[in-house]
Amino acid sequence: MRNGTDAAIIQTMNVKCELCPKQCLIRPGERGDCRIRVNIDGKLRAVTYGFPSAVHVDPIEKKPLNHFLPGSTSFSIATVGCNLHCKNCQNWGISQQNPEDGEAMPLPPERVPELAARHGCRSVSYTYTDPVVYYEYALDSCVKCHEKGLRNVLVTAGYINERPMRELYSHVDAANIDLKSMSDRFYREICSATLKPVLNCLVTAKSMGVLVEVTNLLIPELNDSDGEIASLCRWVKDNMGWETPLHFSRFFPQYRMRHLPPTPERTLKRARDIALAEGLKYIYVGNILIPGADDTPCPSCRKVVIRRVGYEIIANVLTDGRCPECGTEVYGIWN
C-alpha cells in the first residue's frame, strides 16, 4: 500500500515542460533536454534565471541584424543550455554546458536595462545560446527593458511552442531566427529537433510585427545544394515576404562536425545569386568578408543605401528609412 502511495505521489510530481515542442516529462530531481529546466520537488525551475554566463556589448550587425538600428550596440546576454544539440554548433562551449559545470554572474532582470543604458546600448539581445530555454529570464528582462525605452532582440533557432512564443514575442522588437534547412530529416539528425515548429515561429513572429531576419548556415554536403537553397528562398519569399532579409552564413568545422571543410566562398556567392533570382531583395553573407556582400541595397533602384565592411558601417544614406534616390521604403527599424 505504501509503495503504491509513494508511486502515486511520484507520478503526480512529474512535470511536463510545455515550453518547446520536445515537451520533456521531467521526474523529480531530473532536468529537461535543455539541461537547465529542472524538476525540484514537483516544481519546474529554471536554474539559470538571473544568472547569465555571457554578458557583452556587441555591434548589432554581429547578431546579425542589418535592418535594425544600424551602427548601434546591443547589450548581449546568455545563460548556458540549449534545447537543440546541433552537431555543428559554433557556440557549443556555452550552449551544451551543464549549469553545474559552468560559471555565471548574478544579474537580475531589473538590472539589465540599467547596465545596458550605462554601456550606451539601444537594445538588449538574448543571444549566443537559445533564449527559449531561459524563457522566464528573457521575458522578465524584456518587460523591464521596454519600461526603460530599450528595444529587445532575440537570436534564436525558433524551436518553441506557439503559446509561450506569442507571449515572449509580444515584448520583442527584432529577431534573427535560424532556418537551418528545409529538411525535417536534417533537423532530426543534425539538430535533434523538427522543422515544422521553426517554420511556424518564423511566420508567427513576422505576423506579430516583429522585425525578422533569417539566417541559414550553409554546411558542405548537408544543406548546400542548389535545390535546397532555392526551396528555402522560395519558402521565405512566399511565407514571410520578399522584403525579409536573409543571411547565408559560413560553416566552420566545430563540435561534432569537424570532418567537414569550411563552406567555400563560391558556395556562399552561389547561394546569394539563387536568392536574388528567387526574388528576395536583401541577401547577406556572414562569417566571411566578401566585398559588397554586407551592403543594403534599395529594393527598387538597387542603389546601395548602407555600406558595410564586416560589422562596421562605412556609409548610411537612408533618409527616414527611404532610398534618397527613388524614395522607396527600405524594410527595417531605423530609429
Binding site: L44, S76, M105, Y135
Partner: protein, 63 residues
C-alpha cells in the same frame, strides 16, 4: 437476478459517476503535470562578479 428498471438506472448512474471521477482525476493530474513557466532557483555552478571590462569586449561567441 432480475434487472429492474430501478436497478438498471442505478447501474447507469454509478457508471457515469465512476467515469466522471476518473476523468476529473486524470484532468487534475495532467493540469498539475504541465507547466510552461518555471520558477527561479539558485544557480548550481560557480558564481563570479560582473566584470565591466569584460562586458565592454565583444563576445567570442557567435550571435
Amino acid at each position: 437476478m432480475e434487472l429492474t428498471r430501478r436497478r438498471f438506472g442505478a447501474v447507469i448512474a454509478a457508471s457515469l459517476a465512476a467515469l466522471a471521477t476518473g476523468a476529473w482525476r486524470l484532468g487534475s493530474l495532467a493540469a498539475r503535470a504541465c507547466r510552461t513557466a518555471a520558477c527561479g532557483a539558485g544557480f548550481p555552478g560557480r558564481l563570479r562578479r560582473l566584470d565591466e571590462n569584460e562586458i565592454r569586449r565583444p563576445a567570442r561567441w557567435l550571435g
